[in-house]
């Protein structure tokens, strides 16, 4: 059918052009964020001593990578109209478990298997945490903020019990490579975070899960009437979020060669939410700007670094971060009204 063929051609062309008002609006925000980031970099080049060193890049990347990884999952959860407060606690659990596994008698006797188990085991536990959160939200109808508060409180408690409340140091070069290794001069975890961001972005844009995610967050009743498996979509989303948090926990532990259950992932939920919000996520759901989240995390990181590197006390950076969030929320609000 020739008519159909011409339609095909048009359809394919449309993918590339995508002159959608919605997208262009979002792009405008992303462009603004990217421009702010660039301005900040230029400011640093002019102001901050030794800014253009590879070491500076490495420091920043290793500080921001765990935030990015957690914020990716958080963005998905926020897109459903929920929020996950338990990510920091899940990081602590996963982080506390890993050294226990490869440091156990069995792990020492089978270093290869032990190392693999030290990766997979904590991630499975993290996934189970997500399954728990998602089930509470989907099947019992518990509000996300309450549902995830349970693990927020108890998760860190479990991690503390696992480590007897002490700082557990270890030596395991293969494992610490995850946190300290570099490729092309940049920390491995930076590459991991970037790769994950790309994967998640593609998942959101190209897969049926991504479409369901946005429709569930955008209008849950309409989605449900159209046959969308709402509960499944939500459970998977919490599961992905927790698993990513677990990975971030492993990375932080590997970086420090020590697991400190009391501190791993502390306040991470807020950093992740901040990155998502600055990146353009709406807490009411229905939007998942992954690239925005990535830029948002980078922006907050670089602002903090700029202040610290120029002698502003650490505490003051919190105030500035808060100001950035206020501006981001204000931008979102004013955009909605126009």
């Amino acid at each position: 059918m020739s008519a159909q063929n011409s339609l095909t051609g048009r359809g394919l062309g449309g993918v590339g052009e995508a002159p959608a008002p919605r997208r262009s609006r979002l792009n405008r925000r992303l462009l603004g964020l990217a421009a702010a980031l660039l301005a900040l970099v230029l400011l640093n080049v002019a102001m901050t001593p030794n800014f253009l060193q590879l070491q500076t890049l490495a420091v920043n990347v290793s500080q921001v990578a765990p935030v990015v990884i957690v914020a990716l999952g958080m963005t998905l959860v926020i897109a459903t109209g929920g929020v996950d407060l338990s990510v920091g606690a899940v990081m602590a659990v996963a982080g506390a478990l890993a050294p226990l596994i490869f440091g156990s008698g069995w792990g020492v006797a089978n270093p290869g298997l032990g190392l693999a188990a030290a990766f997979v085991g904590p991630l499975l536990v993290a996934a189970a945490c997500g399954l728990f959160n998602g089930s509470l939200v989907s099947f019992l109808g518990v509000q996300p903020i309450i549902a995830t508060l349970i693990l927020f409180i108890s998760g860190r408690g479990v991690a503390l019990v696992l480590t007897n409340g002490n700082l557990q140091t270890f030596t395991n070069p293969s494992f610490t490579w995850l946190g300290t290794g570099r490729a092309l001069g940049i920390p491995v975890m930076g590459w991991i975070a970037l790769a994950l961001a790309l994967v998640v972005a593609v998942v959101v844009r190209k897969t049926i899960y991504g479409r369901y995610l946005l429709s569930v967050g955008g209008n849950e009743r309409a989605a449900s009437l159209a046959g969308t498996p709402v509960a499944t979509v939500k459970i998977w989303t919490y599961l992905i979020c927790s698993t990513l948090a677990g990975l971030a926990g492993l990375i932080v532990v590997a970086q420090n060669s020590a697991s400190d259950a009391a501190r791993i992932g502390n306040l991470m939920e807020l950093d992740a939410i901040a990155a998502a919000v600055v990146g353009g996520a709406a807490l009411s759901g229905g939007r998942a700007p992954i690239l925005g989240t990535l830029l948002g995390a980078l922006f907050i990181q670089l602002v903090g670094y700029t202040l610290v590197a120029n002698g502003v006390p650490d505490e003051a950076t919190f105030i500035v971060t808060a100001a950035i969030i206020v501006i981001a929320v204000w931008l979102q609000d004013s955009r909605r009204r126009t």
């Binding site: 159909q4 339609l7 095909t8 048009r10 359809g11 394919l12 449309g14 993918v15 995508a18 002159p19 959608a20 008002p21 919605r22 997208r23 190209k206 897969t207 049926i208 899960y209 479409r211 369901y212 946005l214 429709s215 955008g218 209008n219 009743r221 309409a222 989605a223 449900s224 009437l225 159209a226 046959g227 969308t228 498996p229 229905g286 939007r287």
Partner: protein, 511 residues
Amino acid sequence: MAESLLRMTGIQKAFAGVPALRDASLRIGPGEVHALVGQNGAGKSTLIKILTGVYRRDAGEVLWQGRPVDLKSPREAQGAGIATIYQELTLVPQRTVTENIVLGYEPRKPWGAIDWRAADARAREVLSRFGIELDLHRALGSYPTAIQQLVAIGRAASMEAKLLIMDEPTSSLDEKEVETLFGVIRGLKARGTSVLYVSHFLDELFQVCDAVTIMRDGRTVGETRIADTTKLDLIAAMLGRDAEEIRAAGRTEFSVGEQRAGEVFLEARHLASDRRLKDLSLEVRAGEIVGLAGLLGSGRTEAARAIFGLDRVTGGSLKVGARAARIRGPRDAVAAGMAYLSEDRKVEGIVPDLSVRENLTLALLPRLSRLGIVDEARERRVVEGFIKALGIRTADMDQPIRELSGGNQQKVLLGRWLALEPRLLILDEPTRGVDVGAKLEIQSIIAKHVEQGCAVLLISSEFEELIEGAHNIVVLQEGRSVRRLSNPGVTESRLIHAIAEQPDDALEAAQ
């Protein structure tokens, strides 16, 4: 006519370069009930929003009580004496009746605390004008939509406005409530308040309005005393067509032809649900439209919800395609070949931030995907086809659906279900809140699919639609199917009689 209360002339307004109003005008006299009609997208809402300070005009003049004004916000408009009741309810369902009525205008005690006693008294007075008595301390949301609508109207009427704007005030009211509302409007008029009345129900205009302004494509195309015009003339002016031409074509796009229905697709026997449906028996055949008629609250929507698996079935049996079916939710229903266009477009239909394309393919997604990846090229082809076939007016398929007019949103939602090629289409008020043009188009789309063998269960409050459209009409009363009428031969009076007769008389008549 004495000096006008309001005079808007030469109003223009464009959104992102697209003109919504080209040359609109509106003139309302003091104490006049003035109707504003036009298809969706004609610019009625935009004109009202300019008047109420929600939008700023690009050009034109507004004279309010003879003086040029420039209202910059809804608050300013209210201050000037213009009160609005929007189409969508804008009250707070979780709060009490009293709180909603006095919201923003709470009577205060001298030291600033809210004087609840005075607030209750005012609420009671407002409601008494409607002759309704409510528990003032119950959450508003626990009352039916119709009651909520009346409370919203009462609230606006209590603000002592000079002009009261009502946008589709009757769309969720039943006949008696509409009468109550008309009584209130006449009372307002007697006290010198003007009313701007926007409605798709043209019959109502002749009962309550003095004059009418007609809009089309962003322009005011006519203004006349209501006594000097007819319903047909209004429709013709709204559509920009000739009245004679329409008269010849009939008032709906439906026409009941020969009964050549096929196999029974859906069969319900004594179906009951946990939500007001008590005893529903009906069958729908392929290629047949079965209408569900009844008063508001008679269980029409509940019947649809039970069949589609949205409410829990507590009794009776359901057969789909000659086999007993257990439908536990929309997914089961869709898998069984059913589709359900809900009556509440905004709450249960559109996903506002997603595009026309994404909304249209929401139900079709599983069939458009392989290994979880959406085939976007194929998706675009499908959507392109439906935009053409259904005449959806959109800038392009990636436009967010919330920017479309109600009629076009409805077509997208209809497309969402037609894309599945369902064997049974359940339509709950498919043309409500939709302008005349889109209504005819939607009816003809439905008729075409029925011809191709689709079974349709049609819920409609409009007798014309049922009488001209349905092959069989099942009448519901208080959650029970009490009568079945077959076309040809159904007349409006027979239908009304069946809807209104006492349940006892009808028991024997039940099939």
